[in-house]
């Protein structure tokens, strides 16, 4: 479904990504992990075309990403940022309704179908009861669920998220990850940038580990998140629980 070949990305003269190549199949729950500055977010921004790629190829459904119009792409990929800084007062419902933008024509009002899809997305993310609240007054977890609802309302086969749980407490982290798992099981491909290795281990089936702008290793979570790899790439001492789904980390 997504194919990246020889991707290089420069910010000014500085090379951020070099020679990144991988392919992701449909329906997977993929994590991009790595240390700060390893190029995770830059890679995700290339995949969402927020970073324009000139050097290398990204193909989505066998078509060059650059050949999509923004509108077409918005029907394929929905994006959830790490943080949204709202300057103006929108209700939660208005925010989710924006997810329908790529399907709506100018001057037309919201169709009953749009409203139905928005209602479904908000119910699925357990935000329907918040629909009339000012989005600025929501808690971090509630707000992130609203933003995920907006992505769902976009009805795209692919959902990309940039560290969506970094600003949340542990309870909400699990809540969001479970929600994403559920969304993934319904058929959407998820690509998520994560810092938390335990979450990666528990929820993701495919892992891309980035280091210094390169894709260091790729494989299943169990394969990649072993003691040696974590010590080598993250420079910390680890123990992995016997059942193999918990990572205990201490200072090296």
């Amino acid at each position: 479904m997504i194919e990246v070949k020889d991707l290089n990305f420069f910010a000014g003269k500085k090379k951020i990504l070099s020679e990144v190549s991988f392919s992701l199949s449909e329906g997977g729950f993929n994590a991009i992990i790595g240390n700060n500055g390893s190029g995770k977010t830059t890679l995700l921004k290339c995949l969402t075309r927020n970073n324009k790629v000139n050097n290398g190829i990204i193909r989505l459904d066998n078509r060059d990403l650059n050949s999509y119009s923004f509108k077409e792409l918005a029907k394929k990929i929905a994006f959830v940022p790490q943080h949204t800084d709202l300057m103006f007062d929108f209700s939660a419902h208005q925010l989710v309704l924006m997810g329908r933008t790529p399907y709506q024509r100018p001057l037309y009002s919201d169709s009953s179908e749009d409203l139905k899809i928005v209602e479904q997305a908000m119910k699925q993310t357990n935000t329907w009861h918040l629909r009339n609240s000012n989005a600025k007054t929501l808690s971090g977890g509630e707000f992130q669920r609203v933003i995920i609802a907006r992505a769902l309302a976009q009805q795209t086969p692919v959902l990309m998220l940039d560290e969506p749980i970094s600003n949340l407490d542990i309870q909400h982290q699990f809540e969001i990850m479970s929600l994403l798992k559920q969304i993934n099981q319904e058929g959407r491909t998820v690509i998520i940038v994560l810092h938390d290795l335990n979450m990666t281990m528990q929820y993701c089936d495919n892992v891309l580990l980035m280091q210094n702008g390169r894709l260091a290793v790729q494989g299943s979570a169990k394969e990649i998140l072993n003691k040696e790899n974590i010590e080598h790439y993250f420079n910390v001492k680890t123990e992995i629980s016997e059942s193999g789904n918990r990572i205990f980390i201490s200072k090296k």
Binding site: T48, K71, E72, P81, M98
Partner: protein, 342 residues
């Protein structure tokens, strides 16, 4: 607020706007009664009102040829400036943006002054074209100064606007000193005046504002997405750069057209959208129609006040809008201190 309630308020505001415009037709150096003004207004339709028997040609002339174009111009300019405020605030994702604060209006007035000094005034659209070119240049300079990476920072944007305003007003003063014989005309553009508006001005500005408003309405949804942030807007399918460029160009065209005929009238684009947001929220699809009516009301009140405060002289309407707008701007600045320091 429910949609029905909003609809009711909208209808009420439209009525207020019409009444104010009518009142403005009655007010001037010679005050006119309600019946006289009404009779004069309907006379081109061949209607004779039973209760207004002796309305002479003089009164009809004053109302139809002197006051009506001015009243309509004020309405169109108010609507246009308010919509420019709405669009600028979305494009820059900044509630303090307005064509006046950012120096775009001053840029246009400098363009007008330069055209006068160079004698391009008599040329068709000479002042208009020059205003537009200078306004666009001002916008480009401000964006260049205030953007860092892909972001435009609120504080730098405001500082850039204020410094450009300073620079332009000093250049205009210099032009006035060097061209004493044109001083009065140039002052007209810096202070703003609606005294000499005729139907040609009205037609020109009406066309510009109509085109501008249609383009902004067409992009209302995209503007909503832009209010969140660029990245989100793009992921929702908005061609961010193109949309911003088109809207900036169209709004600058609106502002410069208005300024080229009436001079600088400030703060409408700041005050009106803010007040309207307290009624309808941030959704541009509702904000736009309400701001059009709000702009008409605000500007018409400004025009009426400019005529009645020290009759028979007129105060420039720009100074009235600034008298209301500047304290409002300070109030907003006060409330957004925290954000500005981010």
């Amino acid at each position: 607020m429910s949609k029905t309630k909003q609809g009711f308020i909208f209808a009420l505001l439209c009525l207020v706007a019409l009444l104010l415009m009518f009142a403005s037709c009655m007010i001037g150096s010679s005050a006119m009664s309600f019946e006289t003004a009404l009779q004069a207004l309907v006379s081109p339709l061949g209607i004779r009102l039973p209760f207004a028997s002796n309305v002479g040609e003089n009164e009809t002339y004053i109302v139809l040829s002197l006051r009506l174009p001015r009243v309509l111009f004020a309405a169109v300019a108010g609507a246009g400036l308010a919509i420019c405020g709405v669009a600028f605030q979305s494009i820059f994702r900044n509630p303090l943006s307005d064509p006046y604060v950012l120096g775009v209006s001053s840029g246009a007035s400098l363009g007008a002054a330069v055209a006068i000094v160079l004698g391009a005034e008599s040329m068709i659209l000479g002042v208009g074209v020059s205003s537009f070119v200078f306004a666009i240049l001002t916008v480009l300079i401000i964006i260049r100064i205030s953007s860092y990476g892909n972001r435009i920072h609120t504080s730098t944007l405001l500082l850039a606007g204020i410094s450009i305003n300073f620079l332009i007003s000093s250049v205009i003063s210099l032009l006035m000193v060097l061209n004493r014989e044109q001083m009065e005309k140039i002052t007209f553009w810096t202070m703003g005046s609606l005294s000499y508006i005729n139907y040609n001005d009205l037609l020109f500005v009406f066309t510009a504002v109509l085109i501008g408003i249609l383009v902004v309405v067409f992009h209302a949804r995209d503007l909503n997405a832009l209010l969140i942030d660029n990245q989100t807007a793009q992921s929702l399918g908005v061609n961010v750069e193109k949309t911003k460029r088109v809207l900036l160009l169209v709004c600058t065209f609106m502002v410069s057209s208005i300024v080229s005929r009436s001079g600088v009238i400030g703060f409408i684009g700041l005050v009106v959208p803010h007040m309207v947001r307290t009624i309808v929220g941030a959704d541009n699809r509702r904000l736009i129609p309400f701001s059009i009516v709000g702009g008409i009301i605000f500007m018409t009140i400004g025009d009426i006040l400019s005529k009645v405060i020290i009759p028979p002289s007129e105060i420039p309407p720009g100074s009235i809008t600034a008298l209301i707008g500047a304290p409002f701007f300070i109030y907003l600045l006060f409330n957004s201190k925290k954000r500005l320091n981010q």
